[in-house]
Amino acid sequence: MTITVHVNGERRSLAAPLGLDALVAELTSAPKGVAAALNDSVVPRSRWAATPVGDGDRVEILTAVQGG
């Protein structure tokens, strides 16, 4: 089954079932310094594996960059 997920503002078709941990792992292998939000709610790293990403969900994956 394929679901449509908005990842960092980009519309993507992904295979379900999909855990938030697997989605983050596609972008980075960094063990820290990364945060994720599912539909505007922050999901702590410890809960990524237990958090399923569903059709139509919006996922934001952020990290620290130079600024300010």
């Binding site: 922050v42 952020l62 960059v65 600024g67």
Partner: protein, 276 residues
């Protein structure tokens, strides 16, 4: 009087113990740096080290897998505490979510809160700013808001529980210095939390002036990162902040309209009626 590690970095000079306290943290340096605008990570690192900073801002952005090298590792290996900001947020909602993501990513509940009104001026949106500050304080954050140089707004930000207020001297990146020193004096006079110049510093004298006006610290980025020689300017800012702080504590002489001789006026030769 306790002699401590010299805050100016100049061998042989002395300063009394005069740490900067924000919330529950203590810093030896009163210069807070930003990391934006540097031509390379290497130049940035040299500048940060030269500045002597102990607290430096980073921004939160969507993760780009193509970007190599992390500003966090630069801060980490130099023992500099990372202060996440909410740069680029236009609403309280965006800023609150960004702060919460930063807390999760960096393991800190400190946030430099920025809620800007428009891209052209980068001036704070006071309504959204106050709203976001209140929400984040209630959520347990130590909030350091970037604000306009408005004494009333500064007061309100303190009233909702901000740990410092960070008024702008002039627009971000403008290098125009402190356009309204009187407002800074008013803010400092009434503030019970540290007042930190944020934005506008162009060169060392701007940083020194902020400290002379009673600011507890100076925050800057562009003045250093976009200088022709960032590490040199970083060192200049370090000295300027320390000098301005010492001058503030020393208590300057009052301004006078006419001269006041510093040499004794007695025991001089008589003029004998001849023209002096």
């Amino acid at each position: 009087m306790t002699t401590i590690t010299d805050t100016t970095g100049v061998t042989g000079s002395t300063a009394t113990a005069d740490p900067l306290r924000i919330g529950d943290a203590v810093f030896g340096s009163r210069l807070i740096m930003g990391t934006g605008g540097a031509p390379s990570m290497e130049v940035l690192e040299q500048a940060l080290v030269a500045s002597g900073t102990e607290l430096t801002t980073v921004a939160m952005r969507r993760l780009d897998p193509a970007v190599k090298g992390s500003v966090l590792s630069v801060l980490e290996r130099n023992g500099i505490r990372a202060l996440p900001n909410t740069a680029g947020c236009y609403t309280a909602g965006e800023a609150v979510l960004t702060a919460r993501l930063a807390r999760e990513a960096l393991g800190t509940d400190w946030v430099k809160l920025e809620v800007i009104a428009d891209e052209h001026t980068l001036l704070p949106d006071p309504v959204e700013l106050l709203d976001a500050a209140e929400t984040l304080v209630d959520d347990g954050f130590t909030v350091l808001p970037y604000t306009s140089d408005d004494p009333v707004l500064a007061r309100k930000l303190e009233d909702v529980g901000c740990a410092a207020v960070m008024p702008l001297g002039s627009p971000i990146g403008s290098g125009l210095g402190i356009r309204n020193p009187h407002n800074f004096e008013l803010i400092v006079e009434r503030a019970g939390v540290p007042v930190i110049l944020d934005a506008g510093a162009g060169t060392a004298s701007d940083a020194a002036l902020a400290m002379e006006l009673g600011c507890s610290a100076v925050m800057l980025a562009s003045a250093v990162t976009r200088a022709q020689h960032p590490a040199l300017m970083a060192a200049a800012m370090r000295h300027a902040v320390a000098a301005g702080r010492l001058a503030h504590r020393a208590g300057r002489i009052p301004r006078r309209h006419f001269a006041l001789a510093s040499t004794p006026t007695t025991g001089t030769l008589e003029r004998n009626g001849s023209p002096p």
